[in-house]
Symmetry: C2
Subunit: 532 residues, 2 copies
Amino acid sequence: MSLNTPSLPSAKVIHVDTRGAVILEEESPETRDSRGIYLPNYIEPISHIAVDVGGSLAKVVYFTRSPEPPSSPSVVATRGSDSSNSSLSTPRSISPSDDTASASGVSASSGPSTSKQNGALTPLVLEQPHATAPSALANGLLHDSLLRRTAAVAAVQHFPGGSLNFERFETDDIDACVSFIQALIERSAQVNGVPLAEMRRGVKIMATGGGAHRFYELFKDTLHVEVRREDEMECLIEGLKFITLIPDEVYFFSDELIQSVAHPNATPSVTAAPLPPAASALVPAPSPTISYPVPSLAGSSAQTPVLERPSPDPPKYGVTFESNPTPQLPCLLVNIGSGVSIIKVDEDGAFERVSGTSLGGGTLWGLLSLLTPATTFDEMLAFSEKGDNSTVDMLVGDIYGQDYSKLGLKSTMIASTFGKVFKKGGEKGTFPAEDISKSLLYAMSNNIGQIAYMNAEKYNLDRIYFGGSFIRGHAATIATLSYAIRFWSKGTKRALFLRHEGFLGSIGAWIRNIDPATELLDGVSALHSERS
Amino acid sequence: MSLNTPSLPSAKVIHVDTRGAVILEEESPETRDSRGIYLPNYIEPISHIAVDVGGSLAKVVYFTRSPEPPSSPSVVATRGSDSSNSSLSTPRSISPSDDTASASGVSASSGPSTSKQNGALTPLVLEQPHATAPSALANGLLHDSLLRRTAAVAAVQHFPGGSLNFERFETDDIDACVSFIQALIERSAQVNGVPLAEMRRGVKIMATGGGAHRFYELFKDTLHVEVRREDEMECLIEGLKFITLIPDEVYFFSDELIQSVAHPNATPSVTAAPLPPAASALVPAPSPTISYPVPSLAGSSAQTPVLERPSPDPPKYGVTFESNPTPQLPCLLVNIGSGVSIIKVDEDGAFERVSGTSLGGGTLWGLLSLLTPATTFDEMLAFSEKGDNSTVDMLVGDIYGQDYSKLGLKSTMIASTFGKVFKKGGEKGTFPAEDISKSLLYAMSNNIGQIAYMNAEKYNLDRIYFGGSFIRGHAATIATLSYAIRFWSKGTKRALFLRHEGFLGSIGAWIRNIDPATELLDGVSALHSERS
């Protein structure tokens, strides 16, 4: 099997051709990280559904074929960054939906629990030249561009292009996930005009995450398809390696951040100032970036550069998308789900879970669900945006009354999270939900950033990827994590984020569709060398 | 000035002779860490009061003279380890009060806010041979053994022996602290028969901590004595170096722990088993230790040794006291107050604050004050002892349904603190205060242990001292911190605890009574070499 060119379709190996891959527009802020990825050159027809069942969320990935990008949506796509759509429950996010100029909308109804009309899976039977031609297509269920049939099945066989689709469900409501997959399989059989039993023979579920073990029987007995369990860490790493090749998938705070914090203001307060003109030259930014006003950390160049420790109000900086991705190994992957796993990945793809912490997304959501009226993640994040954590946090200034400069501490830094809450004598104060939310968001993010940094330093890694469903494109979280990394590393390491952050495991499970005897790594490495 | 022997008293340098030092019995569990330290050989008469004002607590240290250990107390000392005294508000603690056989009780009323009749400060005037003899002693205010006077003031001058006394106040109630000091000064003047103004001339306040700056004017203007501000970190380190020389001050979990976890049971559950006989030979334990039954982690010697990650129910192990202390540098000091400071100390005593975290004592008390009915630290700790954190925490077993053994994780390990609390749809559960308390105590302790370990590893330090007022001799906290260090370091590093954990800064401030021109370090180093 030649590994140097995208080979002719083989049932055994998935060579995922990511050339020309395009991230589709988001449908709503809720599904911000579930945008489809259109792969115009991908040839292999597959019918694999990957499911990654974690502590809180079950993530589903599946591929549907179409030669052109999905066109006019049946539901108007919501622009996540459009401030006119903002409301209490829609946190402002770093949404690049303005940027993906080439993609058009997808057809989908919003919300993962509704059946998405994203196309259908392809049954294996269509690959065989002698197969019967499909019966009349059902109207209204498909894009008109999807699955254009011709009598020559050979054309179908080599018909490139299709989309990776992403769905999310609550693990506590795993039945909804199973029902969705069931409906997908049944609809696909219908659309392709094949009996359900045949459709099922060509469908395989790749299950990973803890729930792959917990729910193995459920999937198997309800869906009547083959279910394969895949190792969670291996899937995470495979997913990372794959997804970082998609243009505009990876993003980070621009280099202006480094420039600006290298010349901090002498006084703790910050005021607005224009971007230093030289800084923009540092950032090769062919893709448009979203810029925010930069508070004045410039000036005082005579002062020794001191990086601002993660402070109550991190400045807001431009986001840069990695539009020409290159191989990203070695690196550290910090997967923030209910809990946190920290995995080091070597240059050759070998990996090891080296650390973790139990203080993760589950901790923050759990604490805020008891301490505030918020009932959803986005409500909690919305609260945090309005809060002033200094009413609950003890700052360096509260203890010392001045900077503790020779220790590199500033009076605005957080000395003790929630340090102002306990009052002797049992007097229980009441604190605004917004302040509590901000304090705990900072606390969890700073802590994860610190532990992540220490591991990156230990293993001499400069790139730190943050995965998992915790971040949700939320500006303050991204800022805090970026700051923590830059503070501790003095700007030598970089925090990197992923638009499909929560789907690393499921993407990895999806591409691991191989015979045990085949070398997947060879194929992926070949893909890497083609692109670099 | 000769540095090789305890020199003749000089007004400029305190040579603190710790030979024969004895930690006095505790008065009550509340003041467990405030036991006096009797120094029978200490010669220098001083009138210095050290105050360390932190974010939550103000700690006071002062020395009073007496040639013999304080005898029969005016208030019967409570034995903290006596289970018959246990109640909801008295957490079981590792209290070594049974062990200090030689000391007798101290006279004191319990509670820091009551005026303690611990003796009096010595005015400088008594040092001068031509000073007038003191007038009649006031009865009922003194121990009969305290301050035996003779006409020959020279005898007074070289009269060895006295006690270091410790008091604690709330920083929010700093006036109580000031009043206490005022009363101490006034009483001392009275007892010594000198005018208040003369007494004040011989009293100096050494103030450290953040509050040294905040409350400088308050101290100065109310007490009318000289107030000197001392650097907090320097005081912490000085205090550490000094206090670790006191016999039975330092304690740690015995080496049986290392032996036992090196041969873990194959199954996650643990059952009681007798101590391995060989293990006791590892521990040179001239002082009595308090032993607890050792759960069975022995057996399965064929298995690769895996250290139990901090689990919901850490086994309980014997506590060993360092009765023949040796110099303890280099080391890492982890000071857990409202927040956490991590300081590395080199062999020569040079130190640097290298890290810290805002998730400290203030965080735990603050969270528990809002999430439980508890109104005091000890109530919160009592709750935690009864709790089952698995109702609120997501364990590895909850996610995977089995051990994730190849990652070194066991199903009983905590994957996500509070991971079970958030329910989609806004349904807010109620959880027992005990379970919440245990979960958050573990979370904070494990996190501090992990960050402490990473710093110890980075700087190649094996000894990790935990200071600050957070631990309070609480068994679960000590166990969790010890476990975290041993888990991450695979048994190569040791967590060490201090009975006067909260007083490092104030002790350090107390011994820093020197002229700027004098080298304190030389004196202390000489003291070290004498003892080793």
